[in-house]
């Protein structure tokens, strides 16, 4: 069921090959390889500054890799002739700070991409948008603006916004880190359901309970490198790498 690193396995949805990233003189990603199979959930973990968010952001080129190859569904996307906007429409992304558009209602946040990127009619888009809100349990909040919603509700709207685009893959950048503790579970429940439905997901998260249950593979990063990867039972249960052990010790 679970992938086995950069080689073999099923049909890959994301392939990252020898990714390097520099911010000025800082070498933050030091030659990373990753392969995410279709229908699997891969978790990225690591201490702050380990490069996990930057690595995730390289997958839809919100952050431009300095070198290396990014393939989504078999197609190389970091090339000049690629229409990156069309590629990104197929890759959903959920941010730590939700990043909903505060001047638009919850529903308008969702329909924006459908209308202006997918070219749907407004009516069609609203139907899809309402369905997406229903799915995350917020059908009654369609007319609210983000500042009027709780953190957990905002994050679920953000997930609905990504889902409505019918993405091939969803990227989650610490989706529960900015939430009050009592709101974490509502977001994780939604993500768990998505995983069960076979959505391909890459999740930067330290919610160990969720990862044990939903992740197929856990990737531990430190200082711009992958130090350990494998099934959650192995990496979270009996880690081989010393730095993984130290990090997990601090989490618990």
């Amino acid at each position: 069921m679970t992938g086995t690193g950069a080689t073999g396995g099923r049909d890959p949805m994301i392939q990252m090959e020898a990714i390097h990233k520099y911010f000025g003189p800082h070498h933050v990603l030091k030659g990373l390889d990753l392969r995410v199979e279709r229908g699997t959930v891969v978790a990225l973990m690591g201490p702050s500054g380990s490069g996990k968010s930057t690595f995730l952001r390289c997958m839809n080129r919100i952050e431009e890799p300095s070198s290396g190859i990014v393939r989504i569904d078999g197609m190389r996307i970091n090339e000049l002739r690629v229409d990156i906007d069309q590629v990104r429409a197929d890759i959903g992304m959920v941010f730590q700070e939700y990043n909903l558009f505060p001047h638009l209602t919850a529903l308008a946040n969702i329909t924006l991409g459908l209308v202006h990127v997918r070219g749907s009619s407004r009516r069609e888009a609203e139907e899809v948008g309402r369905a997406a809100l229903e799915r995350v349990g917020l059908a009654d909040q369609a007319g609210q603006r983000p500042p009027e919603l709780s953190g957990g509700q905002q994050q679920r709207v953000a997930i609905a916004r990504s889902l409505a685009m019918r993405p091939k893959v969803l990227l989650f950048d610490e989706p529960t880190s900015a939430l009050d503790p009592e709101m974490v579970h509502e977001v994780l429940d939604t993500m768990r359901e998505l995983a069960q439905e076979g959505m391909t997901m890459v999740v930067v998260s330290h919610e160990l309970g969720f990862l044990r249950e939903a992740a197929h593979r856990v990737v531990m990063m430190d200082d711009g490198r992958i130090v350990e990867e494998g099934p959650p039972d192995q990496v979270l249960g009996e880690p081989e790498n010393e730095r993984t052990r130290a990090f997990l010790g601090k989490l618990l």
């Binding site: 839809n60 919100i62 906007d85 069309q86 590629v87 990104r88 429409a89 197929d90 890759i91 959903g92 992304m93 941010f95 700070e97 990043n99 909903l100 558009f101 505060p102 001047h103 924006l112 991409g113 202006h116 990127v117 603006r145 983000p146 500042p147 953000a158 916004r161 990504s162 685009m165």
Partner: protein, 332 residues
């Protein structure tokens, strides 16, 4: 305490016990004494009405400053009641007005028939209507062009392209440093010598546009940069292009920050149209000045003053209303 409550203690003793430890400015009898001394000083030194000689004038000013300082001691004391502070502040203004009326040498009897000689204004009202029309045209045309130019340059500047940055930066610096009246005079009186002739109206428009779009570039840039990185990240992640992101996500949010300084800028633009007087554009001030010569009374100037106020005070309140309205959906 016991002593103060005993019947033997005199009224003065009790007074001293209750208030003696306070500094002088917290003791009302000391303050009253100071006011009385100040009033006595005034009665002694204030001359009769009319313009005084320099030494006497200086003495009057010193007397006024003394009152100012006395009020200041009341104002800076946190324990003084607010009504006393209000009366103190008003008294400083009232005293100034009274001294000005008494000693400035102004011919108050002339105000009515020189500044408000409405009986001599036939024919002037039409000039006002024409002048106001030109002022409004000039404002509208200059505002429209400079908004388009300012928005364009502001958006371009927010891209942080080094080449654009250099040129737009130079443009902005140049026209923010250049006095409006100088660029207007240069465009209208100097450029014809090298063959560039613009009608007065368009020379004024050009000068206004050059200066105001430089200011507006900075206003738009600051507004755009006030929208957080996460917003454009989220828009990009949805697949919106750079132009779509700017139009649907960044600019609508930037306008919240932009509206107050931008409307301020537009109000100054309308005021600055009066500078076009120096290059003979027949706007409000020019026509008022012509009427002054024609009717031999400064009344038209006073009237034009009120016309500017009547136009712009509502505009300022409209901008306040806009600010409050746009503050409604402010994010955390």
């Amino acid at each position: 305490m016991n002593e103060s409550e005993s019947p033997q203690a005199s009224f003065l003793d009790r007074w001293r016990l209750r208030f003696g430890h306070l500094p002088w400015y917290r003791r009302y009898e000391a303050l009253l004494l100071a006011v009385a001394l100040w009033a006595a000083g005034g009665a002694w030194l204030l001359p009769d009405a009319g313009r005084p000689d320099l030494p006497v004038a200086l003495a009057v000013i010193a007397w006024y400053v003394a009152w100012f300082l006395l009020v200041a001691t009341v104002l800076v004391d946190r324990e003084k009641p607010i009504w006393l502070k209000r009366i103190g502040s008003l008294s400083v203004l009232a005293l100034f007005a009274w001294l000005f009326v008494r000693y400035s040498g102004t011919r108050w009897d002339r105000v009515q028939d020189q500044f408000f000689a409405f009986d001599r204004m036939d024919g002037v009202w039409e000039m006002y209507a024409q002048g106001l029309a030109v002022t409004l045209q000039l404002s509208a045309v200059a505002a429209a062009i400079s908004l388009v130019l300012g928005l364009t340059l502001g958006v371009l500047r927010s891209l942080h392209n080094p080449v654009l940055e250099l040129f737009i930066g130079l443009y902005v610096d140049f026209f923010r440093a250049m006095p409006l009246i100088v660029s207007m005079v240069v465009i209208f009186y100097a450029l014809p010598f090298i063959g560039i002739r613009l009608p007065a109206f368009w020379a004024a428009t050009l000068a206004l546009v050059l200066m105001n779009s430089a200011y507006q570039t900075e206003i738009f840039r600051a507004g755009i940069e006030s929208v957080t990185r996460g917003q454009s990240d989220a828009a990009a992640a949805l697949g919106l292009s750079g132009v779509q992101t700017m139009w649907h996500i960044v600019l609508p949010q930037a306008f919240r920050t932009i509206i107050p300084p931008l409307t301020n800028n537009l109000v100054s633009l309308v005021k600055d149209t009066a500078v076009a007087y120096v290059i003979t554009v027949p706007e409000l001030l020019t026509n008022a000045q012509h009427a002054v010569v024609w009717k031999r009374t400064p009344t038209p100037l006073i009237l034009s003053m009120f016309l500017y106020l009547a136009t712009l005070i509502p505009a300022i309140h409209f901008t306040r209303w806009l600010e409050r309205r746009s503050a409604r959906w402010v994010a955390r």
